[in-house]
């Protein structure tokens, strides 16, 4: 396994059975700077003391605990290029996509960071292909990362088709792919295992949980880069908008690749007193109606515990239903079954607000006034609908018992983007 640019713990090295430990430089995992411990893997400065006197970094503990008596191994030997980077994708970009793609390539060549602000379904991934291809052909290393595991799982087959002759390593929690490659597809967490390794990092859905509000993950990107970083999102957050004002290059795309406008959500007011033990008949009827039109249906609920309950309620109507949440071990299997239309209705939490793309899919949000549904979450959720050109007007309905700012802001944002 090629470990160039890797930054690993002793335990990780033992599991990999690599022979070139001698080529690594070791450094203490935590060092003291001005009397404060600082984690050398993630840069966190608030380590926790153990009863035996050691300190450990709690910010990146999920990747294996590092204490001030552990070592971190960095591999800096020059890497051998792997893969030809030939683009085996034969689609064409729309003029708008082409313009953004060219602007991106210019920024990356100049070594500048870039933001692609594109509505859901604009075809962000395809716009990246020329730049990625160019970098890998030049023998450079590229990482495509996202805070969401489902985004990675969705991207993996698309990327493998687009770069059929280039090895791609796919890594996320519990899935450590040891392929030698210059193209890494991984969750942002995985970047903590690299140090100044990538000539280009693409961060997809940069404003998504848990990246928003976790500075450690932003430091992970900074620690693993040695070239420009490209950010992709449909809903830039405040830090990104601040960066735009400070001169971050931006490409804006407010049209979907098929040219149709985004489906505008309808807001339907109703009484929710009996949720989640009973589902209002109007919602049940809506679900049955959209399934009858040959569409799949994503039904979003605010709480993890509601997903199986509401799935069971919908199932009574003779539909093929499944419920998923972040805690669900069969999540990937259920999503695959939904994509293949073996499941007609998928009841889910905001975990699937991004990255899941199913053609001909209606979207409903139950209890849309709940705090779990922020404005950007609602925009992303609404963006699951109308992804295919032949069904661009899939219905999107927010079922709610009251109006909230987030609901109105989400609707306004969608109408605004359609108007541009």
């Amino acid at each position: 396994m090629n470990l160039a640019g890797a930054q690993l713990t002793e335990n990780e090295l033992m599991r990999l059975t690599v022979s070139n430990i001698a080529q690594a430089t070791s450094l203490p995992a935590l060092i003291q700077e001005h009397g404060r411990w600082c984690c050398q893997r993630c840069g966190d400065r608030k380590p926790v003391q153990l009863p035996d006197g050691r300190f450990y970094c709690s910010a990146c503990v999920s990747l294996g605990r590092l204490t001030n008596r552990d070592l971190l191994y960095r591999f800096e030997q020059p890497h051998r290029p792997v893969g030809d980077g030939l683009l085996t994708w034969h689609g064409t970009l729309t003029p708008a996509q082409q313009k953004a793609s060219t602007a991106l390539q210019t920024s990356v060549t100049a070594g500048a960071d870039h933001l692609i602000w594109a509505v859901t379904g604009a075809g962000k991934t395809e716009m990246l292909f020329p730049t990625i291809s160019q970098m890998v052909q030049q023998g450079k290393r590229v990482a495509i990362v996202s805070p969401r595991i489902d985004v990675i799982r969705e991207l993996a087959p698309r990327l493998r088709t687009a770069f059929a002759t280039t090895p791609i390593a796919v890594r996320y929690g519990g899935h450590f792919d040891q392929t030698d490659s210059d193209l890494l597809l991984a969750t942002v967490h995985q970047l903590l295992r690299f140090h100044r390794a990538f000539d280009l990092i693409v961060v997809d859905e940069v404003d998504a949980f848990p990246m928003a509000g976790t500075p450690m993950l932003h430091r992970a990107v900074q620690g693993a880069r040695r070239g420009p970083v490209v950010y992709l999102t449909a809903t830039p957050d405040r830090p990104l908008k601040a960066a735009m004002r400070k001169g971050l290059m931006v490409s804006r795309l407010f049209r979907r690749f098929h040219g149709h406008p985004l489906p505008v959500p309808a807001i339907r007011l109703m009484n929710f007193k009996k949720l989640p033990s009973q589902l209002p008949p109007a919602i049940v009827k809506w679900v049955r109606d959209v399934v009858a039109t040959g569409r799949s249906c994503l039904l979003f609920v605010p709480k993890i515990s509601w997903a199986p309950q509401i799935a069971a309620l919908v199932q009574r109507n003779g539909l093929r239903v499944a419920g998923v949440a972040s805690t669900d071990r069969l999540r990937a299997e259920k999503i695959t079954a939904f994509r293949q239309r073996q499941i007609q209705v998928l009841v889910t939490t905001t975990i699937l607000e991004r990255g899941v793309t199913v053609p001909k899919c209606a979207v409903g949000v139950v209890a849309a006034a709940d705090r779990a549904f922020t404005a950007s979450a609602l925009v992303q959720i609404a963006g699951r609908a109308g992804r295919a050109a032949d069904s661009a007007d899939d219905p999107v309905v927010f079922f709610t018992d009251r109006y909230t700012l987030a609901l109105l802001a989400a609707k306004r944002q969608i109408v605004m983007m359609n108007g541009r």
Binding site: L50, P51, D52, Y56, S58, R65, T67, T327
Partner: protein
């Protein structure tokens, strides 16, 4: 039979919690259940923590049971001698066949100053560990009753 009370069942969430606390060694989690546990054990007379092996302490840097029940007064009356394999890595049959590894560190006279001992541990699976601890106390001459309290079963 050993009477055991537990606060939680061993579901996916508790499995994840145990993994992060003991497996990854995230000591921050040690006080997560402190208030709940204190409320449950406020009437217990004598609490004895199930000790862990010293080599585990060296790796983790903390004793998970001492951390979990840290707000309470625990008697250090038991010691655990090294075993070949931790309970967590065994299947049910192997767990049940585990030999006795506890020794009692105080004389019978001291033990019998109390009538009731509550053993405290994090997880009750087959109960092997807790039964061994009780047997060791009885073998050392303890004549009162032994009950157990675990966070999870």
């Amino acid at each position: 039979m050993l009477h055991n009370r537990a606060l939680f069942v061993y579901d996916a969430a508790m499995k994840q919690w145990i993994y992060q606390y003991k497996g990854l060694g995230d000591y921050r989690l040690h006080d997560a259940f402190q208030d709940l546990i204190a409320a449950q054990l406020q009437n217990a007379r004598t609490l004895i923590a199930i000790p862990s092996e010293s080599k585990h302490y060296d790796v983790r840097g903390f004793d998970p049971i001492q951390g979990l029940f840290g707000g309470l007064q625990l008697q250090p009356w038991l010691r655990k001698s090294p075993t070949a394999k931790p309970q967590a890595q065994k299947n049910r049959r192997e767990r049940l066949q585990t030999p006795q590894s506890f020794t009692v560190l105080v004389p019978a006279a001291k033990l019998n100053q109390t009538k009731q001992i509550t053993l405290v541990d994090d997880l009750y699976t087959t109960g092997r560990t807790l039964y061994h601890a009780r047997d060791a106390l009885v073998a050392a001459g303890f004549q009162g009753t032994v009950t157990a309290f675990t966070l999870i079963r």
